[in-house]
């Protein structure tokens, strides 16, 4: 058996080992990469950055723990952006498994902001600056019901407070008070947001998608049904970079933990390795085919 034949029949466990090392080594010894924000991410960021001050950002935490590495950094980056620019935030989840992830995200970001707050105005307060509506079902009833009155859909929030009694809900009655809904999901839930909230009520929809789903969502970006989109961990890293630039612009000095950006050196190394595998595999295939002829 020749070299190329051996190469094509290599035990796949060697490939796994190489990928493990290629991903692991840059995590231990990272090289610096500054993510360049692509137009879909920039559009989403700019829309949130410039939307009217009285409009809230709603984040739909529609992902589950299995895809957390790709999507959780997006949620964190959106919350950083919203609170740094004093936006009101509403969080909800349409996935049972997303409930804890939404809570973890809001807890982490509010703790970060409140640790650096010096006045009441700087603090991020539950029920005043944000509300976590939690989870309920079914999806269609929620998406249509929020167009009429959000407190009817969510009579109590995640923490058990009556939503009618929360100060933030006085200015957050239905879709008219929402600037944009960003659905972060590994499923087709963003399309449900388009079908119901965007098509029927005209609410702008942003999307945070797993990289696997991203190619399917570009038509919605092209048609304007998505205002912007973050695709995979790279999309999260791009948004993190824009938020970091915004922090600099606002004079916020404290350092942000940027999990998406931290992963970019591993991501880059793994992509190069896979490209090399594809090239070697193709060379081997054509060499063997020529020999057979």
């Amino acid at each position: 058996m020749g070299f190329w034949n051996k190469l094509l029949k290599i035990d796949r466990r060697w490939i796994y080992t190489i990928i493990w090392l290629v991903v692991m080594i840059p995590l231990l010894f990272p090289f610096k990469i500054k993510p360049m924000a692509m137009p879909p991410v920039t559009r989403l960021f700019n829309y949130i950055d410039t939307m009217p001050e009285d409009k809230a950002l709603v984040i739909s935490v529609d992902y589950t723990p299995d895809i957390q590495p790709e999507l959780h950094p997006m949620c964190i980056a959106l919350l950083h952006h919203a609170f740094a620019t004093k936006r009101k935030v509403g969080l909800l989840t349409l996935q049972v498994m997303g409930l804890g992830l939404g809570e973890a995200a809001i807890r982490q970001v509010t703790e970060e902001f409140n640790a650096h707050a010096t006045t009441h105005e700087d603090s991020i307060i539950n029920g005043e600056d944000y509300v976590y509506w939690g989870w309920t079902t079914p999806i269609i009833t929620i998406l249509l019901g929020m167009g009429e009155r959000i407190t009817n859909v969510y009579p109590v929030d995640y923490y058990g407070h009556r939503t009618e009694s929360l100060p933030i809900m006085k200015h957050l009655k239905n879709y008219d008070d929402i600037g944009i809904v960003v659905s972060i999901a590994g499923s087709s839930i963003p399309i449900s947001w388009v079908n119901f909230a965007n098509t029927q009520f005209g609410v702008p929809i942003g999307c945070g998608a797993t990289a696997v789903s991203a190619a399917d969502y570009y038509p919605y970006l092209n048609s304007g049904q998505f205002t912007g989109m973050m695709a995979g961990m790279k999309g999260a890293a791009e948004y993190e970079q824009l938020v970091a630039d915004k922090f600099d612009e606002l004079g916020i000095k404290w350092e942000l933990r940027r999990k998406g950006t931290e992963a970019m050196s591993s991501q880059t190394a793994a992509h190069i390795a896979i490209m090399i595998f594809i090239i070697i595999g193709n060379i081997a295939y054509f060499v063997i085919r020529r020999r057979k002829k």
Partner: protein, 207 residues
């Protein structure tokens, strides 16, 4: 290294799942079954506490919204599937659910996923305000026409249909390539996430 026992449990289960990469083994099967059981238990608990108790049991037990009992009975007919003699009754809740969701979904889906997508392929003069947007608009329109032509099976591929469907294949292949590239990125991201946990949260090697 972490002193949190939950981090250790998560790390050991992660390694048990990864052990499948070497070969099928009891550790992997244990972790897989545990995950399925925990996920189902978590979901059932939430449906009980967040849906059935507040929306059905509480109001009915206080004598309010008694009509919900009829709805609950219709829902409970799903369980007739387990009794062969009356299993046909399962069609009733299925019909209710299908009727409601089809009625709510189909008109909006036609608007959002067909009409608005079609509208987005129309090339207008305003798209040529700058040459890049004009070029992309033309490419998208061409791509849509060529790809639909490729899937047009009612006529033999000859004459104009032949070259257009060939162009359609190119667009389809570009689409597959983009999907594959994104899939690689997604899978690597998931591995990165687990390694960040193992090397950071568990072993404390990265901060």
């Amino acid at each position: 290294m972490s002193a949190d026992p939950w981090t250790w449990i998560a790390a050991i289960l992660t390694l048990a799942i990864f052990s499948f990469l070497y070969k099928e083994n009891p550790f992997y099967r244990f972790a897989e079954h545990l995950f399925v059981g925990v996920a189902n238990g978590y979901a059932i608990t939430f449906y009980w506490h967040r849906v059935l108790v507040p929306s059905l049991i509480n109001p009915v037990s206080h004598g309010q919204k008694l009509w919900l009992i009829a709805i609950a009975i219709i829902g409970a007919l799903y369980f007739t599937r387990f009794i062969p003699k009356v299993s046909w009754l399962v069609r009733i809740p299925i019909a209710v659910v299908l009727g409601y969701f089809s009625g709510a979904y189909i008109p909006r889906a036609i608007d959002a996923q067909i009409l608005q997508q079609l509208r987005a392929t129309i090339v207008t003069r305003s798209m040529f305000a700058n040459w890049q947007s004009g070029l992309w608009a033309v490419i998208i329109a061409l791509g849509v026409i060529a790809t639909i032509t490729y899937f047009f099976f009612s006529a033999k591929r000859k004459g104009i249909l032949k070259p257009v469907s060939r162009i359609g294949i190119i667009f389809i292949m570009v689409g597959f390539g983009a999907s594959f590239g994104y899939t690689v990125m997604a899978r690597i991201s998931l591995l990165i996430g687990r390694l960040q946990f193992l090397l950071g949260d568990w072993l404390g090697l990265i901060h």
